[in-house]
């Protein structure tokens, strides 16, 4: 109570509260966070005018039939600050982002297109560095960049450089992977530690006055997926937990499959440096972005075999079983905590924000 404190009774007001906010009339950053606002934007504003069964499936890529063969098509735009960060850069991100979206449908990614939006004044050597990185990533993923476009905007109208990529891949006969295919009893596998990319970028940004010794995990995941499929395992769902992290990706799967998912907190893989950075910032690693990890929902009998194949791959060495699919509550993700209680793992409302204290 300090030096001037008193202990007289205090009269309290009745409950008061502010007026509800009107539905937002403007685009806010949260619309791009991968959370509920993003989902609302897609389902309420984009889906109705473009509506068709392929889009409605809500997967990482659309599956189309052309001349008797099945193709996966996807597109992804990349805006990241800084352009270069430990473990990667916007170029590698742009190639791997689209490659991974295709791979998550069980497709073999083949061809990419690339669109550059360049800000006047961008240093040519920066652009050269980004393009060299894209070339290396495309070689690693074994895809070709076969068409492109360039636009230049006035200084101040873009953050140096934005990149859009689109891609197509072929889907082999018999491969049926989709977000709606999770079944009760299935096992959920994560291919490695959570949150490396998000924390690496945040640390490289330098705004929050912390530096974590964390490298982004950006990687093409098509080879890993190829090895998992070659093993002949019954894989029901694949998803790369990018923006919004593992929690958001699993919520999407639970909703698409109309099933529940239960996670086991004790088995979630997180690097100590990422865990420490998250503790400090008030983040939950479940919501932090990954760019080189995948979630696989696999028939129970095949789980151990898939896990072995993943751990033997360069891109899945840290794979772990993190949970399983249950009948309900439908569309929700629950977690058995390390101390034995149960809680819901929800989708983020908007942006991931550092806490106050």
């Amino acid at each position: 109570m300090g030096e001037n404190g008193n202990l007289n009774p205090v009269t309290l007001e009745g409950p008061v509260c502010p007026l509800p906010l009107q539905p937002t009339e403007y685009v806010v950053l949260g619309h791009g966070s991968g959370g509920k606002l993003s989902r609302d934007l897609v389902t309420k504003l984009f889906l109705p005018p473009f509506d068709n069964p392929i889009l409605r499936a809500g997967d990482d890529a659309g599956i189309v039939g052309i001349a008797g063969s099945r193709l996966a098509i996807s597109t992804d735009s990349h805006v990241v600050t800084p352009l270069f960060f430990p473990g990667g850069d916007i170029g590698r991100l742009a190639v791997c982002g689209t490659v991974n979206d295709l791979a998550m449908m069980g497709a073999t990614p083949r061809y990419l297109t690339v669109g550059f939006i360049l800000e006047e004044g961008l240093e040519m050597r920066v652009l050269e560095r980004v393009v060299a990185s894209m070339r290396a990533a495309a070689q690693e993923a074994v895809v070709q960049i076969v068409a492109g476009d360039t636009k230049v905007v006035q200084k101040g109208k873009a953050d140096g450089l934005y990149i859009n990529t689109a891609g197509v891949g072929s889907v082999a006969d018999g491969v049926e992977i989709a977000g709606a295919n999770a079944r009760p009893g299935d096992v959920v596998i994560l291919s490695g530690a959570m949150g490396d990319h998000g924390i690496a970028v945040l640390s490289a940004r330098g705004e929050l006055d912390f530096q974590a010794q964390v490298t982004s995990d950006i990687a093409p995941l098509n080879h890993l997926v190829g090895e998992m499929l070659t093993a002949g395992a019954d894989i029901h769902v694949l998803r790369d937990p990018t923006r919004g992290g593992v929690a958001t990706a699993l919520n999407e799967i639970a909703q698409q499959s109309n099933a529940g998912i239960i996670l086991d907190e004790a088995h979630l893989p997180v690097r100590p440096a990422v865990a420490a950075a998250c503790e400090m910032l008030g983040f939950d690693p479940l919501y932090v972005a990954n760019e080189g990890k995948l979630l696989a929902v696999v028939a129970p009998g095949d789980a151990e075999r898939v896990l072995r194949v993943m751990r033997a791959s360069l891109y899945g060495q840290g794979a772990a079983i993190i949970g399983h699919v249950v009948t309900g509550p439908r569309g929700r993700v629950l977690m058995r905590t390390a101390i034995g209680s149960t809680r819901v793992v929800d989708v983020l409302a908007g942006e991931l924000l550092p806490r106050i204290c």
Partner: protein, 368 residues
């Protein structure tokens, strides 16, 4: 992770929970003051594991939740000015004022930035001499030293384009207000560990004495909270009144004296309005007159601010421990984190947000 993993050890936590079960003989209502503890309790599901006789009610220790609406509206007015870079802790950006929040100001072209420390805001002021940099200095005793330090630093560096919009609150007067209220249900407090790390716990013995309650300084990890509850239940069962420290690795009786000195140098006690609760005498801090030049409220002519509060949610009752979030008829239906009706649904330390985020909907838990 050292000093975290040990305090989340399931075996140790269950050992303490077992001891609580052996100790408790009748119902007790305990309040954890701090919103950070509320979130830890719900996130780890500690309340689910406690015996049914021990009820935890959630206190007003959520800085964003209790920041008065007038001040948020002032922040919105300042942040909308073209000559201003408005800086704040992340949580504050989402809190609704009378009709909009700082995010929407940013979407409309206002320069609103999240900083992790007010000292970063001072740096921003140095880097942008043609702009006014304003920091929204909110929080309890935990954030006060850094916020006060930023003013001292601005003065020492001769940074004149930096100011603070101050909305500081103090925890002990709020405990006093809750205990003196006629409808009070709280029989013992888990005192906030981080607040006590700064301030010590020398302010609590007069409270414990006057209201004949036990108070236990408690940390934030599952084992800390279980230990705090155990100590409190033991005191209640034995009829003991007084203050004990169950967070000795961070808290001393005197607290952090240099931090207290910085606070005392820059800030002075004042009456303060708590959103949803009311005015509590001598429960806030404002800048001392000699630092008035750094007061954003004095620096900017804001005209008259008309706020509008409506009696549509029960945040006030929740902040006083009189109701739980899921007792509210609009919880999780009309009121969600995307469309909050009250600050308790917005802040990462708000009780409603914790209940929502970790799924304390009656229907959901019945299915689980």
């Amino acid at each position: 992770m050292k000093y975290v993993t040990e305090y989340r050890d399931a075996k140790l936590v269950h050992g303490v929970l077992e001891e609580i079960r052996h100790t408790v003989t009748r119902p007790w209502t305990l309040m954890e003051i701090c919103g950070g503890q509320t979130h830890a309790i719900v996130r780890h599901g500690i309340d689910q594991l406690l015996p049914s006789q021990v009820e935890l009610v959630h206190g007003p220790g959520c800085p964003v939740c209790v920041t008065p609406l007038e001040l948020i509206d002032k922040a919105l007015a300042i942040a909308s000015r073209p000559d201003v870079i408005f800086t704040s802790y992340g949580d504050m950006l989402r809190v609704p004022g009378s009709g909009r929040h700082l995010f929407s100001v940013r979407a409309m072209g206002g320069d609103v930035r999240v900083v992790y420390s007010p000292l970063d805001a001072v740096k921003l002021a140095q880097q942008n001499p043609d702009k006014q940099v304003v920091f929204f200095a909110i929080g309890f005793e935990t954030t006060a030293p850094a916020n006060a330090m930023s003013v001292l630093q601005a003065r020492a560096l001769g940074v004149q384009n930096y100011s603070v919009l101050v909305s500081h609150a103090c925890v002990p007067p709020a405990m006093h207000a809750i205990l003196s209220a006629p409808l009070n249900r709280v029989q013992g407090f888990l005192a906030a560990g981080h607040v006590s790390a700064v301030m010590g716990y020398w302010e609590y013995p007069p409270l414990a004495e006057k209201y004949q309650v036990p108070i236990v300084v408690t940390g934030f990890e599952p084992l800390d909270i279980a230990q705090g509850v155990l100590t409190l239940v033991q005191m209640l069962e034995q009829g003991r009144v007084g203050v004990e420290n169950a967070y000795v690795r961070a808290v001393t009786f005197q607290g952090n004296l240099p931090a207290q000195q910085v606070i005392g140098q820059v800030l002075e006690l004042c009456d303060r309005k708590w959103r949803g609760i009311g005015t509590i005498p001598m429960s806030g801090w404002r800048l001392r007159p000699e630092f008035r030049e750094y007061d954003a409220e004095a620096r900017f002519d804001l005209g008259e601010i008309h706020t509008h509060e409506s009696p549509s949610c029960i945040a006030g009752k929740i902040l006083q421990g009189l109701a739980k979030p899921h007792d509210c008829p609009v919880f999780g239906t009309t009121c969600t984190p995307e469309r909050p009706l009250g600050a308790t649904m917005v802040s990462s330390e708000g009780a409603c947000a914790a209940y929502y985020k970790y799924g304390r909907h009656h229907a959901l838990l019945e299915q689980a």
